[in-house]
Subunit: 148 residues, 4 copies
């Protein structure tokens, strides 16, 4: 079996997110499960920046559910902090969307976490997994993605 | 204007819910916004007990969105505690579903909170608010509800 | 018993909050329990604007837990919407902090919800409820609050 | 460098968790970020079963923050479903707690997700990372853990 290569690209976006009081746990730091929201905020901003927002994908007939996620926690974030979330698009010939994330403490620049998500294409019409890239996505890639 | 009366009934249910670590904030107590989940768990159990679960309501063509909610906090709940949530159905001639809640610390019996929710009927088909009670609900009331 | 009067003031703040995908439920609208986050975001911004942020209150030796909350839902918010949350401070001689909220759809201007929260002062040192206003808060009121 | 081996053990627990309405997103399935709660519920039950609950760990002077998490989504869970979460303890000589998870649809037996968490020991007193296993944990391991 030949593994499909994942290649870093120049496509990236950065968002600044204030930590909410409700996101902090009894240890006084952001509860680990809440970093998922930071990834989501970054994906959202990426989609808008590069002309491929969630609602457009949906209009094109696809959901893009997450099929895998991972997060490595390096340094805690606290209430009052701001997170700087960097999202970068990684290209793959597979019908997948791969993002890698770096979350920094916006004030100190300290790395707080890294992570990755993989999404697939699911047809809204019949709920079927797309084996190849949908046409609209292939078009977007040809126009937008430039491997490093 | 004649206000539609809200009348207490005998219909009630009680659920026991363990407090999750992630529900506790940096003050070491359940974050106030998380009590909404306890209300939801109680409504769910009530629906099952009295033969009117959410999915049946949906099958009958209706959503029942919350139009108002209130909660009074009396005594904090902590991680490791269990909440005992009592839900009671209040009858009204209006096309509304009124529940009142009492949340206790299951171990100590201390009252932790009280609350109320009001729901209306929204047609799934056309997203329209139901002015009168839907037939399925009227039938349920005639069969089930016995004012105190 | 003489009820302590609650008086509207000029003190208000407005925040714009993007609706997150994860905040929307299977009816396609923001889940009612998530409005609590919008109130929290507005309180946060209010505290910063008027020099009384949460962390300063804590430094002064007090928690300000919510003792009651209510929300009336008028019109749904959807994914892709932005909420405009207006928070207004209401003055009371009681040792309480009362805020009222109006949430609008930022694009259409349609009122989405109204709400209210009441907070009390709890000493961090001994976990005791403050009967009168703490000195730092009384000072803040004299400097800042101007009844309409 | 010699990598510290991770070895499967016989120690496992299973919990059954009802899917909450609020956990389901606009695609009609459990939002991917909510699986973290299922892992947490399983860890909680594991701790109780094997005499090493979170609050005891804390009493022994340690927090056990998550330093890495991953989840692979296989098949969606819906509102009305129940999740069967299997948690299994993996032994390692490193000062870490490794759990692997399998989440099933309790009704159909279909695998919904797999995952892993790694926790470390942080001293409550000085917030320092424990390089070796704390004494209480070493004792627990000697008494409880039996490699397959």
């Amino acid at each position: 079996m030949v593994l499909k290569r994942i290649v870093e690209t120049e496509l990236k976006e950065t968002v600044r997110v204030k930590i909410r009081f409700s996101e902090v746990d009894s240890m006084g730091v952001v509860w680990h499960g809440n970093y998922v929201h930071l990834f989501e905020d970054a994906r959202e901003a990426f989609g808008i920046k590069y002309g491929i927002p969630y609602l457009d994908v949906y209009q094109n007939g696809y959901y893009t559910p997450i099929v895998s996620i991972s997060c490595e926690y390096k340094s805690p974030l606290k209430y009052g902090d701001e997170a700087l979330v960097e999202i970068r698009y990684f290209d793959t010939p597979a019908a997948k969307i791969v993002f890698k994330y770096k979350i920094y403490n916006a004030l100190t620049g300290v790395l707080a976490a890294t992570g990755e998500t993989v999404q697939v294409f699911l047809s809204v019409a019949d709920n079927c997994l797309s084996i190849g890239n949908p046409a609209f996505f292939e078009k977007w890639k040809q126009k937008t993605v430039m491997p490093v």
